[in-house]
């Protein structure tokens, strides 16, 4: 048996072996780390590809089918119109309920704005009333006014006509004139068509129209030209082809004397 502890050559050899092993271990760790990083990047890539699969399905309907559906949806309210007698033109049915996704009508937006202003005023006054009671009824703070605001928000999301009470126009709350002119875009739009190249140019023209008391077109004039004669001409033609609804006597008088300006498109 060799005395291990007191053998200097053993200690020396032991140290060398130890150093060698430590070195090997370190090397293995480093190599492992490097290999690991490479492996990891590959892993990430695979996960990325796998996670992003199957978000939506392939579209079922063709473009042609969708167009057909849209056409049918828009045509339906028009048919309903035709049934009604021309004397009783109902503003609610004048604008189709289904509105094309591209139909960005600023007039509607402006109307909503006005509505917000007036409604805001009324909700303000409501709020003022509520203020008095507020101290006594701390539990239900904004009962009615929050209802109002909710209704207001709901109406803001809607592009359809609404009813006579909420469909304000710039002329003041529930104005007859306001209600009448709001029906004009819907009446004109079926005839307001442009060829492809003019659509892309994003032009604008404005036309003032004067109507007879029976709603027929008395006069139309370009008050602001687009600079492109064909564009103006198309807008004028749309106005001329439109069958305007019969206005009431007061509205008719105003349309005969001062007319109204139509913006194509704004």
């Amino acid at each position: 048996m060799v005395d291990v502890e007191n053998n200097p050559s053993f200690t020396k050899k032991f140290l060398i072996t130890f150093a060698a092993h430590a070195g090997l271990l370190l090397l293995a760790a480093t190599v492992g780390k490097v290999v690991g990083t490479i492996w990891k990047t590959n892993d990430i890539e695979i996960i990325r590809s796998a996670v992003r699969v199957d978000v939506v399905g392939m579209p079922k309907y063709t473009v042609q089918e969708l167009k057909e559906m849209e056409k049918n949806a828009v045509q339906m309210p028009k048919e309903a119109d035709a049934v009604k007698s021309p004397d009783k033109v109902d503003q609610k049915t004048e604008t189709p309920d289904v509105i094309n996704k591209n139909d960005l009508v600023v007039q509607e937006a402006a109307k909503e704005k006005e509505k917000k202003k007036t409604n805001f005023l009324s909700s303000l006054s409501d709020y003022a009333k509520k203020d008095v009671k507020k101290d006594t009824q701390k539990g239900k703070v904004t009962g009615e006014s929050s209802e109002n605001i909710k209704a207001l928000v709901l109406e803001g999301n809607r592009l359809s006509q609404g009813n006579a009470l909420t469909g304000d126009y710039a002329d003041g709350p529930g104005s007859e004139f306001g209600n009448y002119v709001q029906t004009l875009p819907g009446a004109i739009r079926p005839f307001w068509r442009l060829p492809d190249y003019l659509l892309k140019k994003e032009l604008r023209c404005r036309i003032r129209i004067y109507l007879n008391s029976n709603g027929s077109l008395m006069k139309s004039e370009v008050v602001e030209s687009s600079g492109e004669p064909e564009f103006d001409e198309r807008a004028l033609r749309a106005v001329k082809q439109t069958n305007f609804p019969k206005p009431s006597e007061a509205v008719g008088q105003r349309l005969t004397s001062s007319g109204i300006i139509l913006g194509f498109p704004l």
């Binding site: 590809s49 399905g57 063709t62 960005l104 002329d171 004009l184 875009p185 004109i188 300006i261």
Partner: protein, 453 residues
């Protein structure tokens, strides 16, 4: 105070009402009403009259392809001399947008056709030119007249002078040894011409940007010496057909070359798929030096490249996510700006860019056949549109040079064991314009030639 505010509101309202503008809203796209009137014929023989009539018919047929833009209608005053005495106010009254009038008279052995086009709404004459028309090149003349008028009307080139190349197996004699050759025809399916006589199989042709060359793959026989015996090995070689000299040259005959080579936007290099590395990758090869550059490096298979006209974007098909899906990337460096475009569909194939590089049309396996879809090049999934349905299996789409049409093949079962496969054309909204080939064997890989400005 409240009253004062209310008063102010009312005042501002009434002031506003004075010059209130009622916004009518955005206009719908309208089809232009177009009349191509019968020509006034001056001193023509019966035969020449027939030529003049045919000329007009070709023009009408050409414009009918753009039916999403033009509604070609008959002239209500047939027989009136619309060329010598145009009646613009009357045309305007009848809602016409464009009017094309013509006069044909003899000039030596050929005919002289004078054309005038009017924009009726503005009352302007937008086109006036005279053309020499020969009976033997009647269709050529008619298409170029139609193209000139279309350019005057829209400011853009038409497809009327373009051609479509395709592959057909109609020369096959033996069912077990299918032969496919290369053909070229007018955009309207007329004047089909056979370009190759290999008695072999031509695969996936591609047209150079200047229309002078067609590149395609060909299954050819390579002779090889092995163990002192000559062996014949089938190999897919890359060939180039010069349309002017009608000469065919070999671009590359290295073993392992696959089909699917396309020209780069400049035409001096090609993108092709090579599979010698074990998996298919896309390479760019310089046509002069034959130097290769790897474009995709992933271990998945990358095939079927398509590049935009500016050369900045490449779409290709890759199975790296597990199934065949569409990717885009910048082909200037390997895997640069890689982006996945398609996420659904069992199997997507043949992504092809529109000329403006904004859209990609591709085929996707649905139920039991392929149908065509269009998506924007950014891969916005909301802008994916289905184009075909219930029209057999629709594959291999390619955009027209003006981006308005898509040519594709449609396979339909004729009987239980027999299927027809023909070339069809539709507009980019999926409205089928017509069938270009009929009873012409099975047709494959239609490609549109470019329109040179």
């Amino acid at each position: 105070m409240k009253k004062l505010i209310a008063l102010l509101f009312i005042i501002s309202f009434s002031a506003y009402a004075q010059d209130a503008v009622i916004a009518v809203g955005k206009a719908e796209q309208d089809k232009d009403k177009l009349v191509i009137d019968d020509p006034e014929m001056k001193g023509l023989s019966a035969e020449q009259k027939a030529t003049a009539t045919e000329l007009t018919e070709i023009l009408r047929n050409d414009f009918a392809f753009y039916r999403h833009k033009f509604e070609t209608i008959d002239y209500f005053d047939k027989g009136k001399n619309s060329y010598s005495s145009p009646e613009l106010p009357k045309w305007k009254e009848n809602g016409l947008t464009y009017f094309i009038a013509s006069e044909v008279s003899p000039k030596g052995p050929s005919l002289e056709a004078k054309y005038k086009a009017y924009s009726v709404l503005t009352g302007r004459e937008i086109f006036s030119a005279s053309f020499k028309v020969n009976n033997d090149i009647l269709r050529n003349s008619a298409h170029s007249i139609a193209d000139s008028i279309y350019r005057a009307m829209t400011g853009k080139p038409s497809i009327f002078t373009s051609k479509i190349i395709f592959v057909s197996d109609r020369t096959t004699v033996n069912k077990h040894e299918i032969l496919k050759e290369l053909y070229i025809m007018d955009f309207d399916g007329r004047r089909v011409e056979k370009l190759t006589n290999f008695n072999s199989v031509v695969i996936s042709p591609s047209v150079s940007p200047d229309n002078s060359k067609i590149m395609f793959s060909l299954i050819s026989n390579h002779k090889e010496m092995s163990r002192n015996r000559v062996r014949t090995i089938k190999n897919i070689d890359l060939k180039m057909f010069d349309l002017h000299s009608k000469k065919i040259s070999t671009v590359s005959s290295k073993p392992g070359i696959n089909s699917g080579a396309i020209f780069s936007s400049r035409g001096d290099s090609i993108y092709l798929t090579l599979s010698f590395g074990g998996n298919a990758d896309i390479y760019e090869m310089d046509l002069g030096s034959e130097k290769m550059k790897k474009v995709t490096t992933h271990y998945g298979d990358d095939v079927d490249p398509s590049v935009t006209r500016d050369g900045n974007l490449m779409a290709f098909l890759s199975n790296r996510p597990g199934r065949a899906h569409i990717y885009t990337m910048d082909p200037s460096a390997p895997e640069k700006d890689l982006k996945r475009i398609s996420f659904v569909g069992q199997f997507n194939a043949t992504p092809r860019f529109s000329p403006d590089g904004k859209d990609i049309v591709f085929s996707s396996w649905v139920d039991n056949g392929f149908d065509l879809y269009r998506i924007d090049a950014q891969g916005n999934q909301n802008n994916m549109y289905r184009l075909t349905k219930n029209n057999g299996s629709n594959e291999e789409p390619a955009f027209s040079p003006d981006g308005e049409f898509i040519v594709f093949t449609s396979k339909k079962m004729v009987t239980k064991n027999k299927a027809s496969q023909d070339v069809f054309i539709m507009n980019r909204e999926g409205e089928i314009i017509g069938q270009l080939t009929n009873n012409f064997g099975r047709c494959f890989s239609p490609q549109w030639t470019n329109v040179l400005k």
